[in-house]
Symmetry: C2
Subunit: 332 residues, 2 copies
């Protein structure tokens, strides 16, 4: 087998985040799902945008954020996702390529537009996301470059994208391509509502040994396993998922890899400004360590440091030299 | 005459800023006009965008930034400028309306697209701007709501927009409408290259007593008057412009109003992050005081405080409660 071309290839939603500070009153008035991610149609997106304060646009998308972090750390990455042939599609494509990530899926002509996520950030730094998926839902299975997938050490799948039908088919093909090339498959569960809709699919994939690395926050762990505490949740997946990473926001994170267990506290942050992307960047730090064969605790530390950086400012794309920051924190 | 509906109505470029940190080496490699504003065509804009790092999009435009500051302080404002019927046009319109500014010019269908300004921010916090004017150049004189102009205490004109022909005609009509309604006309000179091209127009307007309030930085003052020092520059305009405001970056600002003179030091800033919009927000603070009949020194202080806020973060739109900040600083 030839030398892998990529460290990580990711499949996810190609989204531009539209972010604005918001009062708690506005969240109530608009009846938003505080702290969560809600899918919205075009009409609701317009209604929410009209009610939103002045905003800024920053490329986002869960897996894309993770890859941007990985790329900043020095990993070779590629992204698969669908934008439309419009200005926000250009913005997304520019921003992901500008950090050195290969992105070759052609924009999709016509409606719907490129996805946008309307993010209301409350004074407690919590983000409330409202996603208009637009073109994302039409990522065709043919967009999948199976050679590229087979040529990446890790295939990283964004759980959100399991919901629409076409991308789900693309992801299934990607899993096959990765497995038959002897690569690892990583999945992030993304959000409880996706588990409610597709948990059976994922439990079956896990039972079949198709998932090598699983990222979940504690609520997602509960939803997937039916457990009501972290230990039971971890026990339910033990032996089925070679590497399990459970993030717990301010309470840190736990990982179990091939029977070895490690935990890390959350990295202190001077001021939490916007929690958007915390999980995505935790995954970036962890995967960077993992793909480079580092000890489990160090992988977790990298995750915690990357997450702390992202929540200290607006937006889910790293703003500092993440490689240098990590070297300074880890003393190397 | 009826009670004015607006404090300030502004005519300016309707631009979305595309901002990215950049190294000094990149500025050299791309042969950019460091610290200045350069007009670029579509091909050059594409070339520069391709070479730019990951960016964020924040609404901009000089007069629009000034109005956004005024609106945050509590002034009633309206904006006149031209966007295209595209996503960036929607972004611009949303952001300006979201701060409470009336903006009724319909988007222009077809090409060219909404204007964007590619801003490279170097480690010294200096911004190097490259503007693709797009739809801005086609603001038609008919877009001018003469009743609205006549119903604003101050008409604020962005010098940049004097360059393209159609908006220049619109601005001339606006000056007539304002003068015949007995309103004040304010002009910001924007950039030396515009003075090189249109200085004769402006000197004639000033000689004719059509400009009540003039904003210039020291370089623009030199270009307009031919002086090589600030005192000579001020003397050259004395008696011709009732209110003259000369900004001097870190050296503060000077104003002369009806023979009275005042000066202010620059407001201290913990860390200068991005100087984009410093002049625009200085004008916002000054005009807020001026339109409310405040003493000259207080108008300048307001300008300095608003400018200090804007340069302490990315982007040229205020991020804090400017009214509260100013009340705290001015002790009222």
């Amino acid at each position: 087998m030839s030398e892998p071309r990529y460290d990580v290839i990711g499949i996810g939603n190609a989204i531009v985040d539209v972010m604005s500070p918001a009062s708690d009153e506005l969240i109530e008035e608009l009846q938003l799902n505080r702290g969560g991610m809600t899918l919205v149609d075009g009409a609701r997106a317009k209604e929410l945008y009209d009610a939103m304060g002045p905003a800024r646009e920053i490329s986002g998308g869960s897996a894309a954020n993770t890859l941007a972090g990985l790329s900043a750390l020095g990993s070779q990455c590629a992204f698969i996702g669908q934008v439309a042939d419009d200005q926000l599609g250009e913005v997304f494509a520019h921003d992901i390529r500008a950090v050195g990530i290969d992105f070759d899926v052609p924009p999709r002509p016509g409606d719907p537009s490129t996805a946008r996520c309307l993010i209301f950030v409350t004074p407690d730094a919590q983000r409330t996301m409202n996603t208009f998926l637009g073109a994302c839902q039409f990522l065709p299975a043919e967009a999948l470059d199976e050679e590229a997938v087979g040529g990446a050490k890790i295939l990283y799948l964004e759980g959100y994208l399991w919901d629409p039908e076409e991308p789900r088919a693309a992801m299934r093909r990607a899993i096959e391509a990765a497995r038959s090339a002897g690569r690892q498959v990583a999945l992030t569960l993304s959000e409880v509502f996706v588990i409610e809709r597709h948990g059976d699919d994922w439990r079956a994939l896990i039972e079949d040994g198709m998932i090598d690395i699983l990222f979940a926050n504690h609520l997602e762990l509960f939803a997937l396993t039916g457990a009501d505490n972290i230990e039971d949740g971890i026990a339910a997946l033990a032996g089925k998922v070679p590497t399990l990473v459970v993030t717990r926001s301010a309470d840190g994170a736990i990982a179990v890899r091939n029977g070895e267990r490690a935990a890390v506290a959350a990295e202190p942050v001077e001021e939490v400004v916007d929690t958007t992307g915390a999980g995505d960047l935790f995954a970036a730090g962890f995967l960077y360590g993992h793909v480079n064969g580092e000890p489990l605790e160090r992988c977790l530390r990298r995750g915690a440091i990357a997450a702390a950086e992202i929540i200290s400012h607006y937006g889910a794309r790293t703003e500092v030299d993440l490689k240098a920051l990590m070297a300074a924190k880890l003393g190397q």
